[in-house]
């Protein structure tokens, strides 16, 4: 038997030499493959820790050096890394943002503005049986940074891979039989057109050690696209929850088990026992599938959900809450080195079940960056702050969005306060006075007041709006350039406004326990509206702006609360307050 196989192998190779010319279609396919490998290889990154430890793979996605990899690669390599490209050169790189739940990290390579970037494809268009390329740095073989290419087929789609605890969960991922080995982590999965369709992160390695068994998994690029602007914000980003458990019933239908009364879904009418029909536009046939769909969206996004109760079907929009508590995510964010917890690149808890492993090299433990060795010009690119992987990149994104706002985000007409006056749609006159000590509102002769000051809380004023006056105050702080007075101000990322509208940038202002989400059109800086929440368990005060603008401020405010339109106001005049009358 052994001899016969040996003979076969010998004959195979000899056979190749004497074989007739293969058919043209085969040669064409080979040429196309070779051309594809040549085209995609320059964008593939070999990632190493600064001290040579850790490491994995990544892929450049922009000419200014942003690259995707796995969170479990950067958690091993530290905040600064060395990245090799197939031009044989080694570049410095710095951490930007991380998604510990989805096992994705964004890093930025430095030193060029013309990096060879890969094109992102559409992972939803993949078909089982389609050829895919895994390109990366398995076993850290690429001493000259020329990546290793392996080739195989899509084995399955919409796979779910259980998390380690609640992190490193692979939802709706791509399964392939292409060879995947330690060190391939974070590298790209390309389709035949040379587009990135996934980021390779884990495999099933049961029984055969940590080497390929033909079952590798990639995070779909469509999931990563949802998170990309969130990652560019430099934050530790979180996935979402609807605040309810979902179960598959005996009859095969999918239903809500228990639901938090504090959840947005509950306030929208969803109750225990309701049958889920579709979620995020996809029909739901199992609890597992629901988890699969949910897992590809960031916390804070609004998604359509259709449920059935009895004979009636209801369509609602649900805003996702955080999947994790703030304290759980804080463990991943960077605290300044002089603080208590100086552990750069904390490693997540290892998977209890050893058969599903992240293919990182075994020496990952020794990879913590020695911050002392980092040159000072690099160090300036890392700003550590709780809740952020690298706050420096949030400052950059804040600046970009603010730059697009009227007068660069410093409206002089609002600086010392202002009075906005006009009429509602049904003809009532109104005056809103935005001052430092309070926000007053006179609507058709009835007065409302939100007092401001260290001891004052945000209240639901006018009652039933969810806190319109408090929201107007936070909006003024953003637009007038008084952002330093807020408890927190940052760039969140982007989302489709109202779940169905255009993709908009989101700025967050927090103060006095309240939180304002301001929606800004990506090109041109037009303000589309805001959602304001006085706390976690109440509905938002929702304001959407119309097109007209007066002195940089939107003139048409459509106010709704709990899904009900309650006010449609048109600002006709804006007068600055005289500083002497309202100085502090």
């Amino acid at each position: 038997m052994t001899i016969r196989i040996a003979a076969l192998l010998l004959v195979s190779c000899a056979g190749g030499l004497v074989a007739a010319e293969p058919p043209p279609s085969v040669l064409e396919a080979e040429s196309a493959r070779i051309a594809n490998v040549e085209a995609i290889s320059p964008s593939v990154v070999c990632i190493f820790g600064r001290d040579g430890g850790g490491g994995g793979s990544g892929v450049l996605i922009s000419r200014d050096g942003f690259a995707l990899t796995n969170f479990h690669v950067t958690s091993g390599s530290g905040d600064f890394m060395k990245c090799g490209l197939n031009d044989g050169k080694l570049y410095d790189a710095v951490i930007v943002g991380i998604d510990p739940t989805g096992d994705v990290a964004l890093i930025k390579l430095l030193g060029r503005d013309d990096f060879p970037a890969a094109t992102l494809g559409d992972s939803d268009s993949l078909i089982v049986g389609e050829w895919v390329y895994v390109v990366g740095n398995p076993f850290l073989l690429a001493a000259d940074f020329t990546p290793t290419v392996t080739y195989g087929i899509v084995s399955g789609l919409h796979r779910y891979q259980y998390p380690a605890g609640t992190f490193l969960e692979y939802t709706d991922c791509i399964q392939f039989d292409t060879s995947l080995n330690p060190g391939n982590s974070g590298g790209p999965l390309f389709n035949e057109r040379g587009e990135v369709v996934g980021i390779n992160g884990r495999g099933s390695f049961e029984k055969r050690g940590r080497v390929n068994v033909g079952a590798g998994y990639a995070i779909s690029i469509n999931q990563i696209k949802h998170f990309l602007d969130h990652l560019r914000s430099g934050r530790v980003v979180d996935h979402g929850s609807i605040g309810a458990t979902v179960l598959t019933r005996q009859d095969g239908t999918v239903a809500i088990g228990s639901i938090l009364e504090t959840s947005d879904a509950y306030r929208r009418g969803l109750r225990s026992g309701d049958e889920i029909v579709t979620f995020a536009g996809r029909p739901i046939r199992s609890a597992n599938q629901f988890q699969n769909v949910l897992g590809v969206y960031p916390s804070g996004w609004m998604l359509p959900l259709t449920y059935r109760r009895g004979a009636e079907t209801h369509d609602i929009m649900v805003r996702l809450s955080n999947a994790h508590r703030e304290s759980e995510l804080l463990e991943f964010s960077k605290t300044p080195p002089d603080r208590e917890n100086p552990q750069p690149g904390r490693k997540p808890e290892s998977d209890e079940d050893p058969k599903e492993e992240q293919p990182t090299p075994p020496d990952e433990e020794a990879a913590a960056t020695k911050e002392d060795d980092v040159p000072s010009e690099l160090k300036q690119l890392l700003v550590q702050k709780p809740g952020f992987a690298n706050y420096r990149f949030n400052e950059i994104e804040q600046a970009r969005v603010l730059e697009s706002l009227p007068n660069g985000g410093t409206l002089p007409s609002l600086a010392a306060g202002a009075v906005l006056s006009g009429r509602t749609e049904d003809g009532k006159p109104f005056r809103m006075t935005l001052a430092d000590r309070g926000v007053g509102f006179d609507l058709g002769g009835v007065g409302y007041l939100q007092p401001l000051g260290p001891a004052e809380e945000f209240i639901d004023e006018p009652p039933g709006t969810g806190g319109l006056l408090a929201a107007a105050h936070l909006l003024r702080q953003i637009l007038a350039g008084s952002r330093e007075r807020l408890a927190a101000f940052y760039y969140l990322g982007s989302e489709p406004i109202d779940g169905i509208g255009p993709q908009v940038d989101v700025l967050i202002a927090e103060d006095q326990g309240g939180r304002l989400r301001l929606y800004v059109v990506r090109e041109g800086g037009e303000l589309l509206g805001f959602d304001f929440s006085r706390g976690d368990n109440v509905d938002d005060c929702r304001v959407r702006f119309g097109k007209p603008v007066i002195s940089g401020i939107p003139a048409e405010w459509r106010v709704s609360y709990g899904g009900e339109e309650i006010l449609d106001a048109r600002v006709e005049r804006i007068e600055p307050l005289r500083p002497s009358r309202d100085s502090r």
């Binding site: 000899a14 190749g16 080979e30 196309a32 199992s286 597992n288």
Partner: protein, 339 residues
């Protein structure tokens, strides 16, 4: 001999051809879309170390006959089959053929006619032929999506000489050896198909080669099992293999071999009490004492001496066994290596 050489040469020429063209790829995707609904995911008994409670089967008749590899998951009263469209259906054991290691189940529910492989059109594969392997490996198709697909090639068609744990296995017909890792946990009962979608063989249970001890990737030719499947479906008497056969005393590694003298094994449920420990044995080095009651082995409950024997027999030489014993009212963990 000359004939064999010719076959080999032909195969080698085919083997050295690069991948199929793009047009062929589109055909392949259509082939897979048609073939995948003919596979079912099976869930049954098992679920502890080394014994997966899941497997694969393929539909072999419009009436809902499902062929799978004989295995412990069929110990369940009613294994559950998940069809290609996500429907869950209970299945009933029709019969089995011990020689080829296959079992036939019948889906218990409406849905006929089912999409199925036509065994009359089974393709005889040769070294160098390209194949797709379809299986529920690693139970990764956890929702209502189809099973996994791998691509590969027939390396050889040759007799199987392999073992599982200590148990030798042999089929009386040559099997296909494959170049990709098709025989993963849960893959047994899956199929290999030709690029035009005809069934070529059934993926067998996980086995190690007898001489190298490496896991081997193989499939039993469909042309070999087609007739047997037909006989089982027709209800002709074919001996149903007793799953306990695998644990028959002839092949078993008994506790005495590691130095454990158990109390007399009088019933199927005799608790695993240690009656004595042999001097100079693995067991005495590990710290076993007389009157220890073995409760767990490698994380799985040990409810009887027979289960202990099964655990020991399934282990490979050099494998670590960790057992928890009850001693003087407390629990003690002891570990040893299989000699």
């Amino acid at each position: 001999m000359r004939l064999i050489l010719q076959v080999l040469l032909l195969a080698a020429v085919t083997a050295c051809l690069p991948h199929v063209s793009h047009a062929a790829e589109n055909d392949s995707q259509a082939t897979l879309a048609e073939a995948l609904p003919k596979l079912v995911k099976l869930y049954g008994a098992g679920g502890f170390r080394g014994l997966e409670g899941y497997g694969t089967g393929f539909l072999a008749s419009p009436d809902g006959h499902v062929v799978t590899s004989w295995g412990p998951l069929l110990d369940a009263d009613r294994p559950v089959a998940v069809l290609g469209d996500g429907r869950r259906v209970e299945a009933k054991l029709v019969g089995a053929d011990s020689a080829s290691g296959l079992a036939v189940l019948k889906l218990d529910g409406p849905g006929a006619p089912f999409p199925h492989f036509d065994l009359a059109e089974a393709v005889d594969l040769a070294p160098g032929d390209r194949i797709f392997a379809l299986s529920n490996m690693f139970r990764v198709a956890a929702g209502d999506e189809p099973v996994s697909v791998m691509h590969g090639m027939i390396l050889a068609k040759a007799p199987l000489s392999a073992r599982r744990g200590r148990f030798e296995t042999s089929l009386d017909a040559p099997v296909y050896f494959l170049d990709s890792v098709t025989n993963n946990p849960g893959a047994a009962g899956g199929v290999i198909i030709s690029l035009d979608g005809r069934i070529g063989g059934m993926i067998g249970r996980e086995l190690r080669g007898e001489s190298t001890e490496t896991w081997i990737n193989y499939a039993v030719p469909a042309t070999v099992i087609a007739e047997r499947i037909g006989l089982v479906i027709a209800g002709d008497e074919i001996a149903k293999p007793n799953p306990a056969d695998a644990d028959a005393p002839d092949n078993a590694r008994r506790p005495i071999e590691v130095g454990l003298v158990m109390i007399p094994d009088v019933t199927a449920r005799t608790p695993a009490f240690v009656s004595d420990v042999l001097d100079d044995s693995v067991a005495i080095s590990a710290g076993f004492k007389r009157d220890d009651l073995i409760l767990f082995g490698n994380g799985a409950p040990i409810r009887s001496i027979r289960e202990l024997t099964t655990l020991l027999s399934r282990a490979e030489r050099g494998d670590e066994i960790a057992v928890i014993v009850r001693r003087d009212g407390g629990l003690v963990t002891l570990t040893f290596l299989i000699p």
